[in-house]
Each structure stands twice: as structure tokens, then as C-alpha cells.
């Protein structure tokens, strides 16, 4: 494995509060040194030099919320294609959701994911395991066994754990294991037949509406249940203003609870559904401008601390049907960085270091993989590194995505900022810097 030198970039490591122009030297899968002073040739040796001037050099990005569709729906995505999309989007680690076929609800299946990821994956993959058998919301899954097999959290994502009694057992089990529970917040009796946000647009389109309260009720209920239990509770893909309000209160009380937002909820509203565009159909649905602003505000305040794309690839035929019948979801990995930057940095809500923290350190802590050194850039730590050109202007074209999914409401959007180099465990897995960097001849020592 060639040694690498990332030279002259703006190095940001939220864990150590580093934000400075520096050189990063990588050898044998580890970060060897981070130096703000120019390295002497002897230190560089025969390392391949990559000029990162004008770029951000950050810990490898972590997406704690993706759907890789394997096993069971390999026409929509596989671990190979989903992780290729991940590295193209600057991610070195993803956590995959258990709503596969069959659901990820046994230790054997957790092993299967890890093995497939080793064989075919382009980045690190950590499985999130189902909290209930078959994600059916009836009986606890073998959570201890799945934790031992390598699961880093529990969720029935795609489905809510609906029953309060079962929810309490899930939270208690999570607390005893020390892994987080990730809730898909959807009160089912409020969403029967619903396919988009309940409001003026749904009224006009004649589509059954999905009220905010469907999400808010579950967030509030879960926070209430968890108060006596103290599990690490994480509310996924928040969409509604009332949800972040509840989260704000719980965090003010010091409870170990977190929330996540996705690019689409930060940038789009239910107006995108006009014309019955099924690419704007997602669960939870796109809401109104006031919700969108509340989510951004929650990020700015530090109420919402984690960014997750909810990357949800679907086959074309499951989207090329009428709106009510179309699948919910949007692909997220390959446009995430500039879309988050537009929503959060360009808008002035937060700065780049905070954005990086929300995509690295914060999800790493949630899933306990910070203990592996992930989510930070430290001498001696694993060389998972992402280089972002914050000025690069490009047009999102799903036809050129690595993911098998083409379902993006952002197709044709001009965005600014692009991951240009993704290093996983010291190995370059995605490289758009290459054209800028010719190999440097070994210098005399």
C-alpha cells in the first residue's frame, strides 16, 4: 500500500477542534502525522503526494442511515453498488437499515452483511439490526446475539415500533446492551392510505394527507417512555416542527436522545409533489416551509446533531406508477455533501466544521464506532479521510450515479461542493483529484 501525503488542505477534525491548513501523511492504513508546518522530504519519503490546496480534508464521512437492499432486493441496490455510491459521495462508513428481505433479525444475517461487505463493499458497513422479529412489531428480536455479531444499533426502520408496551421492552433491552434505538416515527392510524404531507397541496392533488402529528406523537411518546429507562434514543429523518420541539425539551432535561435530518427535508417542501412527481414521495413526507425552517433552526441550535441521508434506492418501475402506489424514498449518498452545505452552511445556520462534525463524530458516537477511531482524524487513527472541494460547481445527474437508484428529486439541480477523494483504511476508493495531481518523483533523501 502506497503511503499518501495530502498536502496543503484545510484540515478539519471536530474531535480535536482542529481547523487549519496542514499536511496529512498516511501510511499502512493509519494517519501517521498531521502537520501544520511543511514536512521535510525525509518525512515524505516516497509517499504519493496529493495536492489538496483549496480543499477540505476531513474525517471520512459517516452516513448512519442508508438502505442497501441486500439481501432480497438486489435489483434496487446491492452492498457493492450502495457502497460505491457511498465513497463517490465522500462516505467511508455507512450503517445499513434492516428492512431487507428477509429482515435483518438474526445474528446469522448480521454476519452475512458483514461478510458481504468485506467481499464486495467499497467502504465500511455496520449493520443496524431489527428490534423486533421480522420487523413485525410483535416480539423482541435476539438483540443481544445480534449485538455480539456486530450490530451497532436497533431499528425497525421503514416501520414504527407501534405498541407502547413493546417499545418499552425494546428501549430497556437497548439500554442494557448499550446500543441505540433508532425510531421511524409514524403513528400508523394517522397515515392510512396517505402518500404526502397533509396540507393545501394534498388537498389540491386529491391525495390522502399525512399529518405532522403522525411523527410528533411517536417522538413525544417515545421520549416519555424513555425517561424512566434512559436508553440512547435516536429519532430518524425528522420532518416536522413539533418533533424538534419535543427533542429540544428532552435534550434540555439532559436525556441521551438525538435527532437526525435528511437533505430532502432541509431543502424541499410538499410543493415538490405538485404534478404528482413520485420522486418527491418519501416517508416521512416533505412538509411545509415552516417545518423546513424549524429543522434548519434545530440544526443551528444543536438540537438536531446528526445528518443521515436515508438513502433509499428504488427500481424505476416502483416509481413509474401513480403517486399513491409509488414507493417512498429518495437516493441520498451521492448528492449529500453539497445539499447539506447549501441547506446549512450557505444559509449561515452552521459552519463547515460543525457540518463535518454532524457527518462524522456525532454519528460515530451514536453507534459507538468512535471507539474504533472512526469519525475523527488523529495521528495513529484509521486513515478514513474525505477530501471535499467546497467550490466545485456541478449538476446532479442521477444517470451517472453509482447507486442503482435513479430516484432523486434533485436531478438537474446545480450544486456547489463535491467530495473529490475518499480514502478508506488508507486506500483510495474514489478519486477525482487524480486529474489535478501527477505523481511526484521520489526526491533525494
Amino acid at each position: 500500500m502506497t503511503d499518501l501525503l495530502l498536502r496543503g488542505g484545510r484540515v478539519i477534525d471536530p474531535a480535536s477542534h482542529l481547523d487549519a491548513t496542514a499536511d496529512v501523511l498516511v501510511s499502512r492504513g493509519r494517519v501517521v502525522s498531521i502537520e501544520t508546518a511543511p514536512l521535510p522530504p525525509s518525512a515524505i519519503g516516497d509517499a504519493r503526494v496529493l495536492e489538496a490546496e483549496g480543499c477540505l480534508v476531513v474525517p471520512g464521512l459517516i452516513d448512519g442511515h442508508v438502505h442497501l437492499r441486500e439481501p432480497g432486493n438486489e435489483r434496487a441496490e446491492t452492498i457493492a453498488t450502495g457502497t460505491a455510491a457511498a465513497v463517490a459521495g465522500g462516505f467511508t462508513t455507512v450503517c445499513c437499515m434492516p428492512n431487507t428481505t428477509p429482515a435483518l433479525d438474526t445474528a446469522a444475517l448480521v454476519h452475512f452483511i458483514r461478510l458481504r461487505a468485506q467481499e464486495t463493499g467499497r467502504c465500511r458497513v455496520f449493520p443496524i439490526a431489527a428490534a423486533t422479529e421480522a420487523r413485525a412489531g410483535e416480539r423482541l428480536s435476539p438483540m443481544h446475539a445480534m449485538a455480539a455479531a456486530g450490530a451497532v444499533g436497533f431499528s425497525d426502520d421503514g416501520s414504527v415500533v407501534a405498541e407502547a408496551a413493546l417499545m418499552r421492552r425494546v428501549l430497556a433491552t437497548c439500554a442494557s446492551i448499550g446500543l441505540p434505538f433508532l425510531q421511524h416515527c409514524q403513528e400508523l392510524t394517522l397515515t392510512e392510505g396517505a402518500s404526502m404531507h397533509e396540507g393545501e397541496v394534498s388537498a389540491r392533488l386529491g391525495l390522502i394527507g399525512w399529518p405532522r402529528e403522525a411523527e410528533e406523537l411517536i417522538v413525544e411518546r417515545d421520549l416519555r417512555l424513555n425517561r424512566a429507562i434512559g436508553a440512547r434514543y435516536h429519532a430518524q429523518h425528522l420532518s416536522a416542527a413539533g418533533s424538534v420541539e419535543a427533542l429540544r425539551e428532552a435534550r434540555r432535561r439532559g436525556e441521551p436522545v438525538t435527532g437526525e435530518v435528511s437533505p430532502h427535508h432541509l431543502l424541499l417542501t410538499d410543493a415538490a409533489c405538485a404534478g404528482y412527481d413520485t420522486h418527491a414521495k418519501m416517508n416521512p413526507p416533505l412538509r411545509e416551509e415552516s417545518d423546513r425552517r424549524a429543522l434548519i433552526e434545530a440544526v443551528a441550535e444543536g438540537v438536531v446533531t446528526i445528518l443521515g441521508t436515508d438513502h433509499a434506492p428504488h427500481t424505476a418501475e416502483s416509481k413509474e406508477v401513480d403517486f399513491a402506489a409509488a414507493s417512498f424514498g429518495v437516493v441520498g449518498l451521492e448528492g449529500a455533501v453539497p445539499l447539506y452545505a447549501e441547506a446549512l452552511v450557505e444559509s449561515g445556520a452552521i459552519d463547515w466544521p460543525r457540518l463535518v462534525a454532524m457527518m462524522t463524530l456525532e454519528p460515530a458516537r451514536l453507534h459507538g464506532i468512535d471507539r474504533l477511531g472512526l469519525g475523527r482524524l488523529a495521528e495513529g487513527g484509521p486513515a478514513d479521510i474525505t477530501v471535499i472541494d467546497p467550490q466545485r460547481r456541478w449538476v446532479i445527474d442521477p444517470q451517472r450515479f453509482e447507486t442503482l437508484g435513479r430516484n432523486s428529486p434533485f436531478a438537474g439541480r446545480t450544486v456547489i461542493g463535491k467530495p473529490v477523494l475518499t480514502i478508506v483504511d488508507g486506500e483510495i476508493r474514489f478519486d477525482e483529484l487524480a486529474c489535478r495531481n501527477a505523481p511526484v518523483a521520489p526526491s533525494a533523501t
Binding site: G199, E200, A203, R204, G275, E320, D322, A324
Partner: protein
């Protein structure tokens, strides 16, 4: 997309319409008042002239693609097409390939590929007509798509109202019942707003939610009124449209057993309406449930049978507009 339909549903002599490909009628949302009036004028002329002597659509084939049960709308379209001299091919729910798992879009594309001159589509899914019209080479007429729109029903109700009241500008038209789940109500609201009338949406809070007030969009000049107390507004209405309460559908969960007590148009309520106020119902009527039989059958007030006749005339006008251009 319904906004795009507004462009294609401009008057026939519009150059823009002529250069924008086939003339679809997907909904009344965004349709201009002038275009609506021109269709109503043409329908009225057809009503008065009786059978069309010339057959403007002779040699044309119109496909009636009814993927959801319908008797009267399908027959009305078929009669309209035949009166214009067109030939009709027809398929009904249950017999279609949609029941074999084919999507609505594929079904429409297949029928289109067979070489018809227009498609009339009835489907259970909101947005089906909008989606099916994309890239379609021939006109598509929405014969009702889920809870979204039923534009020809809206037009025929406007025709009935206009013939009864004259100009609709400033007129208060009560629409009573399950507004939330009604495609007829949506089309009527858009049509009434385009003609300067005031839609008054009347029904239980569960079926007339606040979101409906925004149906007209911000561009609407006249407001939409919402009301949960029928008795309070009876005297103020210039006309009343009683909707069928679809007890078998979602509305069933949203209405209580006292619905008729609050919203049935019985003799007492009919007596409090202005004497000039006509009573409409898009049918089929739940006799005794939303309208008392005596009221429905009162020829001096009830336009229910006239509406059916107007339906054929309006659909003739629409088909002529959509298909009647040079071959």
C-alpha cells in the same frame, strides 16, 4: 402538471394551444374563465340545436378507458362521441388488463399505440390522468381520477348553474357533503372560482378541513368559504350542490350517524333556500340519505335530470374541442 393542462386547455383558436401538442383536459385547476365559458357556450348551442347534422368527428375513434366502475359517465361520453360521428371503443373495470397487474400508464400507452384519436380515462388513482398524458400523442380527457378531479362533471354542473342563474359572478354556490374525498367538488371549486363565483364548502369538520380553503391557490380572486353548519347558511346560497356521500369509502370513517340530521337536504331545509336556488346532485343519489326523495324529484327545484342531459352536451363540446381539429 395541472397547470400545464391550463395551457393546453386554452381556447381552440389560441396559437399557443395549437403549438403545444394534443389538447388534454386533465382538470379545471388553472383553466381560464374564458375557455370554460366557450365550452359552456358550445354545449349550450348543442343542447338547443338538437342532433348534430354534420358529424365533425366522423372517422375518428375514441377509446373509453374506464378502469374504475362507472355507468353514467361512460355512457354519457359514449353518447357524446357517437353524436359527433366518432366511433367508440370501450373497456370497463374488471375486464381490463389493469386487473392483471398492468399499470394504468402501460394500459394507456398500449391503447394509444393502437392508433386511437383520443382517450377518455377513468381511474381510481389521483393523478392518473396527469401521469398518463405525459408524452401522449393524442388528447386525453380525464373522466375522473381518484379524489383529484372530474372536469367534465364540473363543467356540466357549471352549465346547469349558468342556465338556471345566468352569470355566476358573485354567486354563492353551496357544495355539501364529503368535500375532502370528492373529485367532483375539486373540479367544481376550480370552475366556480374561474367564473367569479364563491364556493361555499359545507360539511362536517372531518370532511371540510382547513386545507381545502387553499384549493384555489394564492392567485384566486374570490375566497373559498368553509362551513360546518348547513342551517346557518341556507338563506345565503344562490344554489346548492349535494354530493354523494361515499359511505363505502374513506368518508365512512369520517361521518357519524347524525350526518343526515345535520346535512341532509330535506323539505324543511329546501323550504328555507331562496326560491330561485336550484338543487344539483352529480349522482348517483343516496335517496333519503343526503337528499330526501321528494326534494330530489321536485322538478321545480331539482336539476338532477337536466344535469344528465347537460353532461352529454358538455362532453360533446369537450370532445369537439379536443379532437375536432384537422386530422
Amino acid at each position: 402538471m395541472t397547470v400545464a393542462s391550463a395551457e393546453t386547455s386554452m381556447p381552440p383558436n389560441s396559437r399557443a394551444a395549437a403549438t403545444r401538442g394534443p389538447r388534454h383536459l386533465l382538470g379545471l385547476e388553472g383553466a381560464g374563465g374564458a375557455w370554460i365559458e366557450s365550452i359552456l357556450d358550445r354545449a349550450e348551442a348543442m343542447l338547443e340545436s338538437g342532433p348534430v347534422a354534420a358529424a365533425p368527428l366522423a372517422g375518428r375513434i375514441i377509446a373509453m378507458l374506464f378502469l374504475e366502475p362507472s355507468t353514467r359517465t361512460r355512457l354519457s361520453f359514449e353518447i357524446a362521441a357517437q353524436r359527433l360521428g366518432a366511433r367508440v371503443v370501450s373497456t370497463a373495470a374488471g375486464s381490463s388488463s389493469v386487473s392483471k397487474g398492468e399499470t394504468v400508464l402501460d394500459t394507456v400507452r398500449n391503447i394509444a399505440a393502437m392508433g386511437v384519436d383520443a382517450v377518455v380515462l377513468r381511474a381510481a388513482q389521483a393523478g392518473a390522468a396527469v401521469a398518463a398524458s405525459a408524452g401522449l400523442a393524442m388528447p386525453l380527457i380525464n373522466g375522473g381520477d381518484g379524489r383529484h378531479e372530474h372536469p367534465t362533471q364540473g363543467l356540466l354542473d357549471l352549465l346547469s348553474l349558468r342556465r338556471s342563474l345566468g352569470s355566476l359572478r358573485g354567486r354563492r354556490v353551496g357544495i355539501v357533503g364529503d368535500i375532502l374525498n370528492s373529485r367532483v367538488a375539486r373540479s367544481e371549486v376550480h370552475g366556480l372560482l374561474a367564473l367569479g363565483a364563491v364556493p361555499v364548502l359545507i360539511g362536517p369538520a372531518t370532511l371540510v378541513p382547513p386545507s381545502l380553503a387553499g384549493l384555489g391557490g394564492s392567485a384566486s380572486a374570490t375566497p373559498i368559504e368553509r362551513c360546518h353548519d348547513f342551517d346557518a347558511v341556507l338563506e345565503t346560497l344562490d344554489a346548492v350542490v349535494m354530493l354523494r356521500v361515499q359511505r363505502e369509502r374513506a368518508a365512512g370513517d369520517s361521518i357519524a350517524s347524525d350526518y343526515p340530521r345535520q346535512f341532509r337536504l330535506d323539505r324543511r331545509r329546501a323550504g328555507r333556500l331562496r326560491p330561485s336556488a336550484p338543487i344539483l346532485h352529480p349522482g348517483p343519489v343516496n335517496r333519503g340519505f343526503e337528499v330526501e326523495a321528494e326534494v330530489a324529484d321536485d322538478r321545480s327545484r331539482s336539476l338532477i335530470l337536466q344535469q344528465v342531459a347537460h353532461g352529454v352536451a358538455v362532453r360533446m363540446a369537450v370532445l369537439e374541442w379536443a379532437v375536432g381539429g384537422p386530422n
